[in-house]
Point group: C2
Chain length 149, copies 2
Amino acid sequence: MSIGFKISEKEKEALGLIIKMHRSLHAVESKTLNRLVDIKLTVSQFSVLEVLYHLGPMCQSLLANKVLKSSGNLTTVIDNLEKRELVERRRSTEDRRYIDVHITEKGSALIEEFFPGHMERLVDVFSVLTAAERKELARLTKKLGLGQS
Amino acid sequence: MSIGFKISEKEKEALGLIIKMHRSLHAVESKTLNRLVDIKLTVSQFSVLEVLYHLGPMCQSLLANKVLKSSGNLTTVIDNLEKRELVERRRSTEDRRYIDVHITEKGSALIEEFFPGHMERLVDVFSVLTAAERKELARLTKKLGLGQS
DNA sequence: CACTAATAGTTCAATGTCGAAACATTGGAG
DNA sequence: CTCCAATGTTTCGACATTGAACTATTAGTG
């Protein structure tokens, strides 16, 4: 069809890389997150809950940073988590601009129900790579991610 | 804070990997796709348009497969592209279930305007890795992606 | 101390996103 | 040929997502 460009080898390589990165991440998440329907959480809700569970209470902007989403989006996601009483907002007393988000007992219980199976699936998914390959993939993705200041 | 689990080394590795994969992809796309505002396209719209430009007309289910989205979503995205006359739907005559989506002249022009800069940024982003590292990253992501049938 | 710049969070409109149900069309089994 | 399973697309409701405009609060500068 209509190929209007000469695409160089280097460009072809970059295009191939970004596509492979997408497909691999998509494949991994399909296998590890599809069971979220069982506990009626969306991927975003799970991400937020997991961060709060493992790292403790946190203000929304920091949370947005952790899950790579906008602050406006966090408002929505946390609203929906709060409706189900899985998290709690608590206005900071020192600096009243901040709102610390706390996971509730109910929220913790949900994570504890889901997490073991999740971990099992995650480890299983990466087991198609050898230990050396996993280490190298970690190194390369880290270098690539940090390389863009 | 509340650590209710013993997380094994293997699990910690898997968690680290998925996070690094997310962060690297996010960093790459932030740098390469932020200019889409210049041509008023969303990321999804660009993905669809790019596939059509380079691979030619295609039915929606195949398109959904290429861009890793649901068929219901494709209906929405293509609706919005069609409103701006960047693509055209044409019902297939052989099998009337299919709707082939064609990119228009206007759509092609938009891609041709954006693509050179996009490629340049993409190559630049990956230049933080050596040629050998890029090749290895391609191999590993491919193996990881295909490993999950 | 007053004013201003910076930061945290919310709101809003537009679009994206999924999954399930519904509809249209086709192909295959009896 | 007829029915039915399979496939492509749309619709719908709920939620996600962004960026920009807005409010509240704080910190810094003169």
